[in-house]
Symmetry: C2
Amino acid sequence: MTEILAASRADEWRRLDPSRTVLMDLDRGQVVLELAPTFAPELLRNLRTLVRGGWFDGLSINRVQDNFVTQWGDAEGDRPLGAAAVRVTPEFERDWSAELRFTPLPDGDVFAPQVGFVDGFPVAGDRAAGRIWMAHCYGAVGVGRDSPADSGNGSELYVVIGHAPRQLDRNITVVGRVVMGTDLLAALPRGTQALGFYATAAERVPIRRVRFADDLPPDERPELEALRTDSASFSALVEARRNRRDDWYKRPAGRIDLCSVPLPVRKVPAAR
Amino acid sequence: MTEILAASRADEWRRLDPSRTVLMDLDRGQVVLELAPTFAPELLRNLRTLVRGGWFDGLSINRVQDNFVTQWGDAEGDRPLGAAAVRVTPEFERDWSAELRFTPLPDGDVFAPQVGFVDGFPVAGDRAAGRIWMAHCYGAVGVGRDSPADSGNGSELYVVIGHAPRQLDRNITVVGRVVMGTDLLAALPRGTQALGFYATAAERVPIRRVRFADDLPPDERPELEALRTDSASFSALVEARRNRRDDWYKRPAGRIDLCSVPLPVRKVPAAR
């Protein structure tokens, strides 16, 4: 992997778009999320309204369920949503339209007829039915909701910190993924209440501030770039992981599953 | 799940066998491992020799790599193995012999022609080739090794703490799985060195003591039982997870993957 990335061309990388990059500051460091307007435009709009209103500032991570999710939002349930909508049209899946740039992963999948990548996100789809959706891989960021399908508005978010819970696909809006700092969310103590909620307010992990990158001065934005999932170097990376050739591996798997494909993100090299 | 377990019969559960149950005591609590002599008899023997010689006592967890593994052993590399073997015949896979009680999971798999359960462990296999192996699901315990296939002797163990790294299947001996306390291994700070090793000795997590349960007085053994993977209640549980029927789920997945199947373990009810 190191060799392939070192040999990649500059134009195989894309800078993260500040208008869909969200920074969450915790006491221990910064978590960077990349959002997916191709799949969740309504949700993204509502999340921006929430974030501009300072919704998450001073709230906390309230739930850490082992091998499942870390979730943050308003534990006390008494902060007003401000200008944001309470109900948002579900964006669990979308039309598989012709303009989507889908890079297939031909290795197969237990849950869906097709899997691959769109705009750098792991996705699953049913081409015959004309439907496609974001897949719940490690690091996927979803929109917590109650039983009504439209009750997820972005005020509660979660990130996958265990084996891919693909049963959530098409049941909840996936709004993006963590591109840096997943470990800050995955290494937290697990909650002891039902569903991994923390038993006491003292256990909650404070959120200092959440901002969209383009609402910050340029020098406060992280300079990050992601390997394009439609690039030759990405294809080479997938193949190198599918069939490992180093001394250690005695029997290459010959296959790779969607959620095991690495999606490299790095600081923009200083030379550029 | 709660309802199915509540309705299960006593004889659908099996007590953990103390001769293949290992207890690892950390400052924060106890981790319980169940070992798989059906798949790794040689390794299990060597591990017992190591454990009886006090190998792990006072050693530490030295590596925590996000979305991959937590690993423990001798960070300094200077503790003698005592009566244990340095090299052990690899047990990466075994013959699919007739006496194995294999419960198939018919939902498919990206990596192997067959998947299912043997003796409570998730396994993958190739029936046509007559081979079967333990699968690297969340909580799987493997035997760290260097490049030579026989260099894994049990003195370094790891547990999977992320999305199932199935590319490791058939490349390393899986000796069992964590049945209680996985969170104690998964919620640790990630190491900042290459492969997630801790940068300093101070970061290492001390191991107080490791023992086989049958080497302890009965009152120090945990009284645990596991739902038999060849029981009717287990089948019902798999189906309930495959097709969720509660209000929250709008579209049941219709499928389940091997590493998403819950493997319930509980304290033996007081009434028995």
